[in-house]
Symmetry: C2
Subunit: 477 residues, 2 copies
């Protein structure tokens, strides 16, 4: 199955008008077949699922898709093939000759010599109907089948490409990848409600803990990454994180993915913002270059105009404003907000949207938030009565907050005081230790991966950019 390209090359040497030894035909993925230039009758076998059937007087046209690309391969068969068996959704193996297509709609097509139905599809009860464009809400009921539609296929291929691009970006820039733990005994990071974990047989025996202590699903790998940035300088993680929030919003899931990085020896938020902007742009450029058709499909059918909006984000330097400036902008807005903007109060989604629009739909970093709004680990700006910390959020069009980050409090005495005040000293002694043994100024950020996909593809609901969405009242499969 692998090395099909080499096999095809070898076959070409002996290609002739009809397949001499049909069993020796090279197996090609649909993407590979579509990529063959100057097809001249190579004997190949293609396997996949029928996406369309069109029967004419003397010919039968099939489109076969195997998920390697959005585009299907056109198969041309003479009408002697039994078209009753060749139905939408069925899996087939087609053997034949790869030839230049007469039509302008594709480069190559497969002249079938043998078509074998591998698995029949019961069209009557198949929830995905031929030639129908199902709403995304409808498809969400069928997480085991929706990946067979064009739109979910494209979204999930983009997800896969973006995953690879993110790993590449960090590797190329000297970051060490760390698997931060999913199960953790840290329970007081203040990022919303936690899921707790116990063996199913003991979940009703609260006095016993499998790990001796209560254990939770992680809300962020940050603290563990900080450990590692003290050894490797630049580290990243890309894994699942969890919030037990009772939310059904189009931007929240109970299980979602975060890309997090932590960097030692950074001295200002500027250093962090540079990496965030580079990560966003480099990843997006790679996705656009590796799966343009998939991105185009989403832009065309889900978010008309998104192509231009994305280009606008990519070609402009992201903006930077302070939280204080943001509040000023909001106060001067002619718009009436449900939540009155006020210094010291968190930005709401409506505020984020307004700010991005105010900034000409260019992503905008908002920096230096009031200390009282942020968790204990953020670095104190020591800026007098206002008292802010070196935090940064990146707001993007359509989604709002995409990245959150900060410099971390690296000064032993300040952190110790803060932990003492919060009564967290004992629980976070290990975290304080990091400031006692060769502490360095450092900082990091997290990017919500599903929100990133929503942002570049223009997908409105977060449940459509993850293979198996988990949220309150729902855990299908």
């Amino acid at each position: 199955m692998l090395g099909a390209r080499r096999l095809l090359g070898a076959l070409r040497l002996c290609s002739s008008v009809s397949c001499p030894r049909p069993r020796a035909a090279a197996k090609l993925r649909v993407r590979e077949a579509l990529g063959v230039r100057d097809a001249s009758g190579e004997c190949v076998t293609v396997q996949g699922w029928i996406r369309s059937v069109r029967s004419q007087k003397e010919v039968l046209f099939l489109h076969v898709n195997d998920g390697s690309s959005l585009e299907s391969l056109q198969v041309v068969a003479d009408s002697s093939f039994d078209s009753r068996e060749l139905v939408f959704g069925s899996s087939v193996q087609v053997q034949g000759q790869l030839v230049k297509s007469q039509s302008k709609r594709q480069n190559v097509e497969l002249k079938a010599e043998k078509i074998e139905v591998i698995g029949h599809c019961e069209a009557k009860i198949f929830p995905i109907k031929y030639k129908e464009r199902h709403p995304l809400e409808y498809l969400r009921q069928y997480p085991h089948l929706r990946c067979r539609t064009n739109v979910l296929g494209s979204i999930l291929r983009v997800r896969s490409e973006a995953t690879a691009a993110i790993h590449s970006y960090f590797k190329d820039n000297g970051f060490v990848h760390i698997h931060t733990p999913v199960i953790t005994s840290n329970d007081c990071e203040g990022a919303g409600e936690l899921f707790q974990v116990e063996p199913s047989s003991k979940i009703k025996v609260p006095e016993e803990n499998f790990f001796n202590v209560p254990a939770f699903l992680t809300v962020s790998g940050q603290l563990h990454l900080e450990v590692m940035s003290g050894a490797f300088t630049q580290v990243f993680t890309f894994g699942p994180t969890f919030r037990a929030e009772n939310s059904q919003s189009r931007r929240h899931l109970a299980e979602f993915y975060m890309v997090e990085a932590e960097i030692s020896f950074v001295e200002s938020l500027q250093d962090l913002m540079q990496v965030m902007e580079e990560l966003f742009k480099a990843t997006t450029e790679m996705v656009l270059s590796n799966c343009p058709e998939d991105v185009e499909l989403c832009h065309k059918f889900l978010a008309p105009g998104q192509k231009d909006r994305l280009e606008h984000m990519l070609k402009n330097r992201f903006l930077i404003i302070s939280y204080t400036e943001a509040i000023e902008i909001l106060k001067q807005a002619s718009q009436n907000f449900t939540f009155t903007p006020e210094w010291g109060v968190d930005l709401q989604t409506e505020h984020e949207k307004y700010l991005v629009k105010h900034c000409g739909n260019i992503p905008v970093f908002v920096i230096n938030y009031p200390s009282a709004l942020k968790p204990f680990y953020m670095r104190d700006n020591e800026d007098g009565p206002q008292h802010t910390v070196a935090a940064v959020d990146l707001l993007v069009p359509g989604v709002g907050e995409l990245f959150g980050g900060s410099l971390r409090e690296d000064r032993y005495h300040i952190l110790k005081q803060r932990l003492d005040r919060l009564g967290l000293r004992e629980a976070y002694q290990w975290y304080l230790d990091l400031r006692q043994f060769g502490s360095v100024p450092h900082g990091g950020f997290g990017m919500g991966f599903e929100r990133y996909l929503q942002c570049i593809l223009g997908v409105d609901n977060i449940k459509d950019v993850i293979p198996f969405p988990r949220f309150t009242h729902s855990c299908l499969l």
Copy 2:
């Protein structure tokens, strides 16, 4: 911080005997500095932690490490620098000129012009002691600090490289990456005890479930990958999996990583075994070529002889024997086993070890296990009275079972019967659906990632190849 190489190139153009504008010195990672050929006095800044200090009459030698490589950069300073501040574990920023080293032990060294201590290290209470080689057991007590030792640094760099290599292998071979869910409502796959998940505030309210149904941490992404292989043909996942087993063995964790792949249109175990062997060999070759020093350190200090054993594995084709043959071999063994080998009974660790040794310490695939030993989804070989399924395990020296895989039962009626018999029909209706709508012969496998690292590095205890090990009674940090 990024693009240091370009910056260095530019600086070279204006390099002179002493740094003209010290503030403009290029920041280099230690690995980058070590890689400079024909150093000729470039002004650079290096940041990291002091790994050793040696004071001679007129010179001071420091070794500075930033985790970008095992090797540290030698810094040479004149004795006017205050060596009391420059202690093991402290973080420093050194500015100076990169020059060819006089010594044979390194290519380049940094002639210090300015050394700034960024964070002092309290040596007296620092659990890692200068010049001491701490046993791995000792280091396990300090998961937040052990990554600063040579050995854990090397292991975790290898882990990062192996992660990247695995992603590359699959991407290069046309697999789509899928994030299979961590939280799942499947509870009867029979892979040991499960962890159950509920919001911490509700964990003692058993009648209410956050997801409406009981939810568990995944033991494998296989079933979800099967969904996706029905759309993308070749898919993989690489994520955390969980077992709530009361085990403290050197081969088990409660949270560990699995690399899993699922492939449609495979017709025999041979197809799967080819991918497994290629994955093992390609990943290992890439690790060996990208971080040879790190691998060498492990081989040298943790497992003498491992280098040769690994080469032996890589240069030989893996062997294949059937379960039935394996039992025969074990029965004829002169060795006395604690568990008597018998057809129909699972292989024990002692058996696996014997088989690998019997096969000349070449990894060996054991195929076609008794149906009764394996889960419901494995493909029936329909081989008469013995009744085996198309399962495969790969046994490797030192570790035992590294991969497990199988062809999956793709025939609707056989699977339906089996689910009916087990009373699982309703819970797995979605899984049965996949066989009703364009079913294809398919199969897949999983590789325990920590066991893979143990195997190539010769690390005896699985707790030393994962950043933050979780096991019964222990969830540090």
